[in-house]
């Protein structure tokens, strides 16, 4: 019955059914692999273009919440709703117009966002099927408030949506080095969404993640800096930006899944150096190298060294061996203490994802 709803129901019914299926699969201890999204018919009938829906969780934690804006609807006047809607649009456009990717899964997957999630929820996340945004410290007085609503930064919207792209492409495991790469890719493409919206070159951009999230009460410019990791904030309440910008400062910690939001500073800085070395708009060449690498080369357990090797070889394929583009990639990784082509050599290829029928047979095996 749940599958019937997923296949035939309206957007919000599908999202609810998919969420319930997620949970029941969880009880059976099985993953709902990305290919199963297609079996369950969540995607649109391809080629329809963008399909956005925004929901309101009304300060609770039930997802997805009440539908408040659908594709084709005009602005609602609720800033969080309209920012989530527009930011999803800008992200869709980057992937479609620059990289010829039709939504998160490449097949027009609907973009679902929930705003006004939780109370005093200073966060945004991707739950495997949709984006979720809090309002920051709306429960505090203005003089105490540290965080604005999380839809206020369009690169955060791009960051969350890119976690979806990663889920459908490389599937980088969200811990340790592969997790830090996963995080870095979200920061990179989130900022590329913003830079393209503002028509900024790599030289003009700030390369700060999350500008606009902090209120004036915080001593900081954003939550991370790709240009200068470790300098984004230094605040008496929030503490100091912990990011390293070089392999020699890699942080071996247990929390944050092995520091995925911390060590992402290293590949972030490598991308920044690559982009400013190349000049022009970062989404055109540097972004293309990173996108093709994520789509075709990265996999579950890719390390920083392996990612460096892959970006270098992809740059050679796209722009020529010995090209300026390939040299810029080498320079980028050198800046963070990684020499492309060194280390253990090419990694063992991951097994290819199973075909659609194979996945269905696996599902019915029980």
């Amino acid at each position: 019955m749940l599958q019937h709803i997923v296949e035939n129901g309206a957007d919000e019914q599908r999202a609810w059914a998919l969420g319930t299926l997620h949970e029941s699969e969880q009880f059976r201890g099985r993953r709902l692999a990305s290919q199963e999204f297609h079996v369950l018919g969540v995607q649109t009938a391809g080629g329809q273009g963008i399909q956005r829906t925004v929901y309101d969780a009304q300060f609770g934690t039930m997802l997805p919440g009440v539908v408040v804006r659908r594709e084709g609807d005009g602005p609602t006047g609720d800033a969080a709703v309209d920012e989530a809607f527009d930011g999803a649009g800008a992200t869709y456009q980057l992937y479609q117009e620059v990289y010829q990717r039709d939504s998160i899964d490449g097949q027009g997957l609907p973009l679902l966002s929930t705003v006004h999630y939780g109370q005093g929820y200073d966060n945004a996340f991707w739950n495997g099927s949709q984006m979720v945004y809090g309002d920051g410290d709306e429960d505090l007085t203005p003089d105490q408030r540290l965080f604005n609503r999380f839809t206020a930064a369009v690169d955060i919207i791009g960051h969350e949506l890119t976690h979806g792209v990663t889920q459908y492409t490389s599937r980088l495991i969200y811990r340790d080095q592969s997790g830090a790469l996963n995080e870095s890719i979200s920061d990179v493409f989130g900022l590329l969404v913003k830079q393209r919206l503002l028509n900024q070159t790599a030289a003009e951009a700030s390369w700060v993640v999350g500008e606009g999230l902090f209120t004036a009460n915080v001593n900081g410019v954003g939550i991370r800096s790709m240009k200068a990791p470790g300098t984004a904030y230094n605040d008496p309440v929030l503490g100091k930006d912990p990011q390293p910008g070089h392999m020699s400062d890699y942080k071996q910690v247990e929390y944050d899944n092995g520091g995925v939001h911390i060590n992402s500073g290293i590949p972030n800085h490598a991308f920044y150096v690559t982009a400013v070395t190349l000049g022009g708009n970062a989404w055109e060449k540097a972004g293309r190298i990173w996108y093709v690498t994520q789509r075709d080369r990265l996999s579950l357990r890719t390390t920083f060294q392996e990612a460096a090797n892959h970006t270098y070889s992809v740059a050679g394929e796209l722009y020529g061996s010995g090209s300026l583009e390939q040299q810029a990639v080498k320079t980028g990784w050198q800046a963070v203490g990684i020499t492309v082509g060194s280390g253990d050599g090419t990694p063992t290829p991951e097994p290819q994802p199973q075909g659609c029928w194979q996945m269905m047979l696996e599902m019915f095996k029980g």
Partner: protein, 101 residues
Amino acid sequence: MRIDFERTGGVTGMRVATTVDTAKLPEAEAETLHSMLTEAGFFELPAFLKSPEPQMDQFEYRLTVTPDEGDPHTVQMSDAAAPAGMQPLLRKLTLMARNQG
């Protein structure tokens, strides 16, 4: 009663941590924390409440409560897997860690 609280992860990746000794708090505040723990059913929660796959940019909480008498109880939970009844307590402890609550 002693409360050891840590929140990590989230898209901001900031670590928030504090240790609270309720004996050193104003009585009303200590009472509030005690009753929040009871209402949330904290001592009956399992040691791990996790989403089966890491949902990207969720908060991760680690909460250890050591009662005056009895064994400490630790729960590690992802924020989307935390029961709704725990949310107000998690928010209060976060604000206490930030010296704002």
